[in-house]
Amino acid sequence: MNLTLKIWRQSDANSKGKLVDYSISGIEGDMSFLEMLDVLNEDLINKGEEPVVFDHDCREGICGACSLQINGEPHGPDRLITTCQLHMRKFNDGDTIYIEPFRAKAFPVVKDLMVDRSSFERIQHAGGYISVNTSGNTQDANAIPIRKEDADEAMDAATCIGCGACVAACKNASAMLFTSAKVSQFALLPQGQVEATERVLAMVNQMDEEGFGNCTNTGACEIECPKGISLENIARMNREYLKASMKG
């Protein structure tokens, strides 16, 4: 395959960025999208140019590091996958592909296609945990039976990889899907109940402080989420939040 790439280049958070054209050839269908970028970077290095910076690590869809807005969609055209799981067989010879960083005020660009998602971290620092000591004396794990359905539902919420595609997909750059997935995991488990009130208030407040937009129920986040995190989580978080606000 021969492709034309239009890639966002920006040297750091304070510089202005722009789209730069590259042409690339010899791309095979079983390459992943990131491997295609590796090939481009190898070319650039050999030509004495600076390679394109992008975030990645596991390359199997689980660490949540890779991002990339591909032809206007976070993680590209396919559903339920991250960028590293996208394969070039989804593209055709001669295609032009736009590659840009995730766009959101709360995700400033670090360099080229790499963004700073530490706002997500701070939301979790605010309350994304159950306060339990690691003393080695915790009660036996089977002393807290949990309905399989609840455990499965908590697991579904817990599979969020913190990639930020939901934010990038949202016209308001809202972080509701991410935050609600984190809140839901604990809300669905008995261990999480004790601190439920403080948790949801703290996490939602932090989310607002970080400059994420409001949720207007457009549902774009769910469509682009690589892990299929469902909008039900947002509903659950809203209920939890309401409950907590009335108590608080």
């Binding site: 079983d30 971290e121 994304g128 499965d152 697991m155």
Partner: protein
């Protein structure tokens, strides 16, 4: 006498850890506030250690190269974590887990460490459940288990195919609690480039802020290295792309011995290599072997026809298939340990029975499991005359509920539906059992420098069983280090803050900067990846699944030539004081180029087959085990710990003799 003191406590095996804990020195809570600990790495080992040490009251600084602790490579572990809970009532116990682990590691690990691991394993599950880790449950609400290769009990706890992710998120949430309390300062996107010693003790690190490029000094009373394994020395592996040996190697250069570098685990169920551009290999969890049957065609003609696309695997009848694991190892069948399964696959492929284009793949087939589960489901849902289609459909649903995400992953990568046609798999480098030598306290040969998780060498011997790395990482971090480090730090309560404006820090910083300068000043012939790929090829071909003297000697030579070329001719674009991933890679590959040589040297020295390490000169000549790996306990029942002396070829070997008082050394037979 070896200069290595393993510090194994006296007394009966089962009481060692308890006695030890009763006797060590404790640090009073008011003094803990005055003590700083650096934790490099925030995977399962580092994350759990950081959270626990902070909870105890120490001031903790964590470092990781990614933008969040929760992206550490541990996130990728799929299958599960072992614990001797005996919830299934199938006869499991601490002793049995200990026994399986020592045997699985081919008697190349320390009894006392492994027993302690088994002993605390149950606590790990309690701890994680209390943190809200959503392990799989049975309908009665209790925890579910499955079994993993190499054992006969069901002791593996799991969270779908994302166990590592959930455990790491658990440790990360424990870290969050401490970050929120101000007890952990997290330095993300920071890379440790050197260890700083003051008066012979580890007292800090030099790190690079990967965003600004700034070189920073950080001091502490103790340093924990939990920086993961070095499987990426092979370039292609199942490890995350950033996984590297730098932190451990820097400590090695500062005096920490590096143990058993040649012990690598090759995982039998990975997606085969498809082409030259490939950047990494993807693991298909070993749990698939619970239900999948492994085979290749019996006849070469069928292999040919399959390779050219004239025949589909599903068209071959049962007797045209060679279920070689079931044939060779009837007792364990498809659940033999990883090294056995990997070698058997290689043996079949080398003999010309590989089923993909490159001839390096075997089948992992779920057809019979689908039928079995389908029939069971039909039965339990009261269907008396289910059609074949209904059975298949229900069976596929059961398989989907167990392994859905793995099947999906396979389909995305290979572009083939594994429910309908068997998966293709091949062994790949997965885990490194070698690492920094540590004593019972997890302290390296540098006082105050500890190593935890995959970064240390302990517990797994020559081969790691499935679901045991996660267990070890969390055991080290949650339950072992917090005690052993306390004992060490009890001598530091009057030390006060460690200053960073000292000659030792000046010197270390200068060396780091010089090294970066040198990396940037190569002649620019080749990219970093060019060298990494070359190194990987040498490692895989000559230090991989099977090894011999001649090729190991060649490897040592080739790697040292490659290293010289690298330092002269590498090209690192960009600048030093900005985000520069090529510079990061260059630093890591420079270390891999040294480690790789030591790896080959260690492999050459170990003239025996053991664990994942198959030495062609050391094979059973006769009897039931004919052709299987031959271990040599008389000459090699030791840990090989290498002392840095400049070039890898000058590294000096120290031996820690392994003493087995509670387990009789037997030939490993999975027949």
């Amino acid at each position: 006498m070896s200069i290595l003191d393993s510090k194994i406590p006296e007394g009966p095996l089962a009481d060692k850890w308890t006695n030890y804990k009763n006797k060590i020195n404790l640090v009073n809570p008011a003094n803990k506030r005055n003590i700083d600990v650096i934790v490099v790495g925030t995977g399962l080992a580092g994350g759990s250690a950081a959270a626990t040490l902070a909870e105890l009251g120490y001031n903790v600084k964590t470092f990781c190269y990614s933008d969040s602790p929760r992206r550490a490579h541990s996130i990728a572990a799929q299958g599960g974590i072992n614990a001797a809970k005996n919830y299934q009532g199938d006869g499991d116990s601490d002793y049995r887990l200990f026994y399986d682990t020592v045997k699985g590691g081919d008697y190349r690990s320390r009894e006392a460490n492994v027993y302690r691991l088994a002993e605390v394993s149950g606590n790990i599950i309690d701890q994680c459940v209390a943190q809200g880790v959503p392990f799989a449950r049975e309908y009665g609400g209790l925890l579910d288990n499955r079994s993993f290769g190499g054992v006969l009990v069901s002791r593996t706890f799991y969270a779908k195919g994302q166990t590592g992710q959930q455990l790491l998120l658990g440790a990360y949430s424990a870290m969050n609690r401490q970050i929120n309390r101000g007890k952990i300062q997290a330095f993300n996107r920071h890379e440790m480039l050197d260890l700083v010693k003051v008066d012979g003790k580890a007292r800090g690190i030099i790190a690079r802020d990967l965003v600004t490029g700034e070189i920073e000094r950080h001091s502490a009373h103790a340093v924990v290295l939990a920086s993961g394994g070095y499987g990426n020395v092979f370039f292609l592996s199942t490890n995350a792309m950033g996984s590297n040996v730098m932190a451990a190697w820097r400590a090695h250069r500062r005096g920490a011995f590096f143990a058993n570098p040649c012990y690598t685990q090759i995982h039998p169920t990975c997606i085969p290599v498809s082409g030259d551009h490939q950047s990494k290999l993807t693991l298909m969890s070993e749990s698939l072997r619970n239900d999948g049957r492994i085979w290749v065609p019996k006849r070469k003609e069928d292999v040919e026809a399959i390779r050219t696309g004239k025949l589909k695997p599903t068209q071959l009848s049962e007797d045209e298939r060679d279920y070689y694991l079931e044939r060779r190892y009837p007792a364990f069948g498809n659940l033999v340990p990883r090294d056995v399964a990997s070698r058997a696959a290689k043996e079949r492929c080398d003999a010309g029975f590989g089923v993909n284009k490159t001839g390096e793949a075997v089948y992992l087939d779920f057809a019979s499991a689908i039928q079995r589960y389908g029939k069971e489901k039909a039965m339990t849902s009261g269907m008396h005359n289910p059609s074949k289609e209904e059975i298949t459909k229900m069976g596929e649903e059961v398989i989907e509920s167990k392994y859905g995400n793995l099947f999906q992953m396979y389909e995305k990568i290979v572009d083939e539906n594994p429910y309908k046609s068997p998966m293709m798999i091949y062994p790949a480098v997965h885990y490194t059992m070698g690492g920094l030598w540590v004593d019972y306290n997890l302290q390296t040969t540098i006082p105050g420098c500890y190593a935890a998780g995959e970064a240390n060498f302990s517990d797994h011997g020559a081969n790691r069983l499935g679901a045991s790395a996660l267990m070890q990482g969390l055991a080290d971090g949650y339950f072992v280090l917090p005690y052993t480090i306390g004992d060490y730090l009890s001598h530091d309560i009057r030390t006060g803050k460690i200053p960073t404006d000292t000659p030792e820090f000046d010197q270390a910083e200068k060396e780091v900067k010089d090294r970066i300068e040198k990396l940037m000043s190569g002649s620019g012939e080749h990219s970093v990846d060019y060298y990494h790929k070359k190194l990987g090829k040498i490692m895989w071909n000559k230090c991989g699944m099977s090894r011999n003297e001649k090729e190991l000697k060649e490897a040592i030579e080739e790697i040292s030539v490659l290293r010289e070329d690298f330092w002269k001719n590498v090209k690192v674009p960009g600048t030093v004081n900005s985000m520069n991933p090529e510079l990061e890679k260059a630093g890591r590959v420079a270390d891999f180029l040294e480690l790789g040589e030591l790896f080959a040297k260690d492999a050459l020295n170990r003239n025996e087959s053991c664990g994942g390490h198959f030495r062609e000169e050391s094979v059973e000549q006769s009897g039931e085990q004919k052709g299987e790996a031959l271990r040599d306990d008389k000459n090699f029942k030791y840990v090989a710990a290498w002392e840095y002396k400049g070039e890898p070829k000058d590294a000096e070997l120290h031996k820690e003799d392994l003493v087995f008082e509670n387990i009789e050394l037997k030939t490993r037979s999975y027949k």
